[in-house]
């Protein structure tokens, strides 16, 4: 009975999830060309969940996150599907006005970008840029804001808050800046934090610290995380569920555990093989042969991975597979699942 209820609730997708993306397509629309760069993406991020999207550059992972924030560049727009944010009320983000969206950004959904070196305005102090978020979304007094700000800096591991308040971005190291950016993102206690490659530009030693920090803070603040990365290692370290994006489509979606123990899609298998060969000195480094197709090539190519797939069959090149349920909580978009008895791995 209880199991039944959760299933029903999950089906509605309003109580247990923070964000539901249904059948999302993003379209490039210029005078010269018109095509989808992201197509039919479905994601559900549960409350307090840490969800990962993994994919190569050009897979559409960053565009998906920008679409959630409604910050897509001018030439791109959401052409189909819905993005629903479930906080006190459910809101359909693609239908909100500019004003309403501004109230959500930085307040209910925050975002951290890849490049900490250029993500801050060089002309304003850290104090201004941190407290600005509070100014946009709250009515606190100057004094309260300062206190909150210093407290937040403390939480992200910056103890000399008063000193840092007076500095300008160029005076801080990359790791420090990313801490400040995390503080900015979390100061309004958002329900969802989108982190787009938050550690890629940082030193390896600092990467782990920043990831730990995000993990800890999301737990204390009850914030869900959507981690966008090209690095399966980051996914393993931080996430619970993961979607593998390739050429604008979700290829496989499951728990992190299942993804690493039982990868079903040949693309995922290739990705895992390439990171596993890293630690293996006997073999040469594995990389998936071939190139990612460009969005202009997407149409009429059947499965988008077929050109690089070691298991490609006739049907793969002509017809796009649908999402198959491989096991509980595990879906994969591959023709191999159509037949029985295919050996994985």
């Amino acid at each position: 009975m209880a199991k039944n209820l959760t299933a029903i609730l999950k089906g509605r997708g309003t109580l247990n999830t923070v964000l539901d993306i249904k059948n999302l397509s993003i379209e490039v629309n210029t005078k010269k060309s018109k095509y989808n760069v992201v197509e039919g993406v479905n994601l559900s991020i549960g409350k307090k969940m840490k969800y990962g999207i993994v994919g190569e550059s050009g897979s559409g992972k960053s565009l998906t996150s920008l679409a959630i924030m409604n910050l897509l560049p001018d030439v791109l727009k959401v052409s189909k599907g819905s993005i629903t944010l479930n906080t006190e009320k459910s809101k359909e983000l693609t239908k909100l006005s500019k004003r309403e969206m501004q109230k959500i950004r930085g307040n209910e959904i925050s975002m951290i970008f890849q490049e900490p070196m250029t993500a801050l305005d060089p002309l304003y102090t850290i104090e201004h840029q941190l407290l600005e978020v509070l100014k946009f979304h709250t009515n606190y007094s100057k004094k309260e804001m300062r206190e909150l700000g210093l407290d937040m800096l403390n939480k992200v591991g910056i103890s000399r808050g008063k000193e840092i308040f007076k500095s300008y971005p160029h005076q801080l190291s990359g790791g420090m800046r990313q801490r400040v950016i995390i503080a900015m993102a979390l100061i309004c206690q958002p329900k969802l934090l989108i982190a787009d490659e938050p550690t890629t530009a940082l030193d390896v030693t600092i990467q782990a610290q920043i990831l730990d920090l995000m993990n800890d803070l999301s737990e204390t603040h009850d914030t869900s995380i959507l981690m966008i990365t090209h690095d399966l290692g980051v996914i393993l370290e931080t996430c619970e569920r993961v979607a593998v994006l390739y050429a604008g489509q979700v290829m496989e979606e499951t728990t992190v555990e299942q993804l690493f123990t039982n990868p079903s899609h040949p693309y995922t298998q290739g990705l895992l093989k390439s990171i596993r060969s890293l630690g293996d000195h006997k073999n040469t480094l594995y990389s998936i042969p071939g190139n990612v197709p460009t969005p202009a090539q997407y149409e009429n190519m059947g499965c988008r991975f077929s050109s690089r797939c070691p298991h490609a069959m006739e049907i793969c090149k002509s017809k796009e597979p649908s999402m198959y349920t491989v096991e509980k909580d595990h879906t994969s978009k591959c023709w191999l699942h159509e037949e029985e008895g295919v050996a994985y791995g």
């Binding site: 925050s110 970008f113 801050l120 978020v133």
Partner: protein
């Protein structure tokens, strides 16, 4: 900060020294005898010798230079070869006109160009943007003297208006003064506005592309905050550069505009000096204008470091 300004001032000394050398020596390599051109071909040898002696032209050239510079340092720019009048008082009274004209023109160009550039940059590829781009491109393609001539013609033909003759100082009669200067300043200002508009637009576009703008939007900032607090302030740095450069163009432009509108400014003094081969006047005025130009650039640089915390005073 003061140390920085002081150091920048010290750095100007070699530049200004170079300027003085260039002006002085180029004006001395003129073929022919200056005294003869002034006095005419039928002058007696005695009169020529006397004139040369009066202006120190009989001395070795480096001594002439030292004498001139020594004078300039103590505020004595020498006397006009034509009228024998002291040069500096003339320069400073005329500079007041040129300076007022330059500032008025700069002001006019800013109030036209900066808002237009911002609007065009924000509404990129819209009809407004297209319109602004066409107009500003025309603006940079119409020389100020052509604009002045056509404007005078149009006013005369269609409104039977001709620009007032004569000049009244600002402190004597501010209203008449502004009436006289309005048209010339409008011409200079609008002809400079094209370049400033283009620069403002491209600076805004460049800034809006930067990562931190996206961060600010992601923080939930209203578009007004994004544009006015962040994009514009960052764009001010390149805009300031073009403004500094344009002041030089304006100072040069005054030479032409003062001529067209018969304004007794410094530019006109240079021009008459050149036409009458009155080289003490030319070298004094040009040195003075170069000095002002260099000082304006210094002020721009100081504003720069005020706007941009990344620039240190060391």
């Amino acid at each position: 900060m003061y140390a920085y300004i002081l150091r920048r001032l010290l750095m100007l000394i070699p530049v200004l020294f170079g300027v003085s050398v260039v002006i002085f020596f180029t004006l001395r390599i003129i073929p022919g005898d200056v005294a003869a051109t002034i006095l005419g071909t039928d002058a007696t040898p005695e009169a020529l010798a006397q004139l040369r002696k009066d202006f120190g032209l009989d001395l070795p050239i480096y001594e002439q230079y030292l004498q001139w510079m020594g004078g300039v340092m103590t505020g004595d720019f020498g006397e006009s070869m034509r009228t024998g009048k002291e040069i500096l008082p003339d320069i400073s009274s005329r500079f007041a006109i040129t300076f007022e004209l330059t500032m008025l023109s700069a002001f006019i160009s800013w109030i036209i160009a900066i808002p237009l550039g911002i609007i065009a940059g924000i509404k990129r590829n819209s009809k407004t943007d297209f319109g602004v781009r066409v107009v500003s491109l025309l603006g940079v393609s119409i020389p100020n003297f052509a604009l002045a001539t056509v404007l005078i013609l149009v006013l005369a033909l269609f409104f039977s208006y001709s620009p007032p003759v004569g000049y009244v100082g600002f402190f004597e009669d501010p209203i008449t003064n502004l009436q006289i200067l309005f048209l010339p300043a409008l011409v200079l200002g609008t002809s400079m506005a094209g370049a400033v508009t283009r620069m403002t637009r491209s600076s805004i576009l460049e800034i809006l592309r930067l990562d931190f703008i996206r961060t600010i939007r992601a923080k939930g900032a209203k578009e007004r905050v994004v544009i006015f607090q962040h994009a514009l302030r960052n764009a001010m740095i390149p805009i300031l550069t073009i403004i500094g450069m344009q002041i030089g163009v304006l100072l040069g432009g005054t030479v032409i505009i003062e001529q067209i509108f018969s304004l007794p400014g410094l530019g006109q003094l240079v021009l008459t000096g050149i036409n009458q081969r009155d080289f003490t006047v030319v070298q004094g005025s040009v040195l003075f204008i170069a000095f002002v130009f260099v000082m304006i650039n210094l002020i721009v640089d100081i504003l720069y470091s005020y706007l941009d915390p990344r620039i240190t005073y060391k």
